[in-house]
């Protein structure tokens, strides 16, 4: 019984792992022909360039070089002290570049106002301590704090996000597959028969998908 269950589970896991790649599964079809990535890249760059040019002419400001141009806006470069600290580019310090972990999708960002997980917060306690030790008394000290906080955040995230991302994917997929199949008895039939092929004697080790199907019938 146990050795029947394990291969079927493995198979499902394997299928799931390849699912996002859409390459090695049998059901995968290339509907739109091959993609020329270079061409696409070129096209995107061109479009970005166009957008940038539009921005530049709209504001008569070269955002790339940070240079004002002649036009309807009269630009002046002023000292940060003379404007509210909010306008300061508080991240413009070189240390940022040493950290490169922006490649992870942030699951939290959409649910900004949702309750945050306390345990996740606790993991970062050490970093908080170092950045919180210096209270901000004035706006310039405050800025220091900002960049510290920023880096602390980054450092932590490298672990955090990788840890988060991995388990979350198969989890959601598993949930989805169970629920969807419940609503598609026809499709489940094929799964069912497939399952029967590779696991002749299912017995009590019926995969999760199959159970609701039987209940429906």
């Amino acid at each position: 019984m146990a050795n029947v269950e394990i291969p079927s589970l493995l198979e499902r896991h394997a299928a799931r792992r390849t699912f996002p790649l859409l390459a090695r599964t049998k059901v995968c079809r290339n509907l739109f022909g091959p993609v020329d990535h270079d061409e696409l890249n070129c096209e995107m760059k061109k479009q970005l360039q166009e957008i940038s040019e539009r921005d530049q002419s709209r504001w008569n400001f070269n955002f790339e070089k940070n240079l004002p141009l002649p036009g309807s806006y009269e630009w002046e470069e002023i000292l940060g002290q003379s404007v509210p600290s909010f306008y300061q580019d508080s991240v413009h310090n070189g240390r940022v570049r040493t950290v490169s972990l922006f490649n992870v999708k942030d699951a939290e960002s959409t649910s900004e106002c949702e309750y945050k997980n306390a345990s996740a917060l606790r993991k970062t306690a050490e970093e908080v301590q170092c950045s919180a030790d210096a209270p901000d008394r004035s706006s310039d000290v405050n800025q220091e704090n900002h960049s510290d906080a920023f880096n602390a955040g980054l450092r932590r995230l490298s672990n955090e996000c990788h840890r988060r991302k991995r388990p979350s994917v198969p989890e959601s997929l598993r949930i989805n597959s169970t629920q969807i199949t419940e609503f598609f008895p026809k499709r489940k039939k094929t799964i069912d028969s497939k399952q029967a092929e590779c696991t002749p004697k299912t017995g009590s080790s019926i995969p999760i998908e199959v159970t609701p199907h039987k209940r429906i019938r």
Binding site: S52, G80, D89, A118, Q129
Partner: protein, 304 residues
């Protein structure tokens, strides 16, 4: 700089961090409308997948909020992205320019402090902006006098929400999001938090408007909590959140002190509102919407 000149070879400039302690800011006047704008740029690391999704979402959120054209939210005029290198994108945000923030505004207030009528007006606007954000499921999380802008005509505009997220892309769970002095107990205790954190900060700012100096100036999380409890009293055992590491036993038992000891200038209605904002339990803390309806704001003739 002086060092470089003196020792010659010992140091070489690595990178310019900005013009001194402060960087420079680009500001412009629209010749047609006379309106002022200012740029704030943010560098974002990118990879093959381009701009991080979180940044894209955040910008989308800022733009969506912009469509409501709320009077108490700083206007975001444009978002311009430029590819700097393959690894870095510069996102420049074009904001309306406001001359001063609440910090400067309070500093500039003549000795007796702000008149109550002015405080009422500022608070009304602040709460209005805040309940707008909250109703759109946006937490500010870093409300402090520095990012509350006050126009020359006395209009309050909230700034900097969501932006912290773009700076770092991932400040989501970092407890450093709220400046220590305006941090709520639940953030200090690293418990779960939501919109009530902004109300706590608003309460601290409210008190500061009367005092012209910050209410709780803690030097560390524990110190901040100690300072808080010295005013609101140590919460009871059943009020203490269960999901935190810092135990209640770390603090000495204290009973609540009259809020007028800390904020002597405050009126009776003001004190009532302040206490409702500085309630330890986030679930029992007043909401931005209810606070707007508090009797402190009801139109009674002010004596100032």
């Amino acid at each position: 700089m002086a060092m470089t000149q003196e020792s010659g070879i010992q140091y070489e400039p690595v990178a310019e961090i900005g013009g001194g302690a402060y960087g420079t800011v680009y500001k412009a006047r629209d010749k047609q409308s006379g309106q002022f704008v200012a740029l704030k740029s943010v560098r974002v690391q990118t990879d093959q997948e381009g701009l991080p999704l979180s940044t894209v979402r955040e910008v989308a959120l800022l733009r969506r909020l912009e469509q409501f054209d709320h009077p108490n939210i700083v206007k975001l005029m444009d978002v311009c992205a430029t590819l700097r290198t393959d690894q870095e994108t510069k996102v420049t945000l074009v904001f309306e320019h406001v001359d001063q923030d609440l910090k400067t505004y309070l500093e500039k207030a003549p000795p007796p402090g702000l008149p109550v009528s002015r405080i009422k007006d500022l608070m009304r606007q602040l709460l209005c902006g805040l309940s707008f954000l909250h109703s759109h499921r946006v937490l500010h999380r870093d409300l402090k006098p520095e990012n509350i802008l006050v126009t020359s005509r006395g209009q309050v505009k909230l700034a900097d929400f969501g932006l912290a997220r773009i700076y770092s892309c991932h400040m989501a769970l970092t407890p450093v999001v709220v400046t220590l002095w305006y941090r709520s107990p639940e953030v200090l205790l690293q418990s779960t938090y939501a919109t009530p954190v902004d109300i706590w900060s608003t309460g601290c700012i409210f008190a500061e408007m009367f005092r012209c100096k910050p209410l709780f100036c803690g030097e560390s999380e524990v110190d901040q909590l100690t300072k808080i409890f010295s005013v609101i009293g140590l919460p009871s055992e059943d009020e203490w959140p269960t999901d935190v590491t810092l135990s209640r036993q770390n603090f000495c038992p204290q009973s609540p002190q009259p809020i007028t000891d800390s904020v002597p200038e405050i009126s009776e209605e003001g004190a009532d509102l302040l206490l409702k904002m500085l309630t330890f339990d986030p679930l029992r803390r007043i909401s931005a919407l209810s606070a707007q309806e508090h009797r402190f704001f009801s139109d009674q003739p002010d004596n100032s």
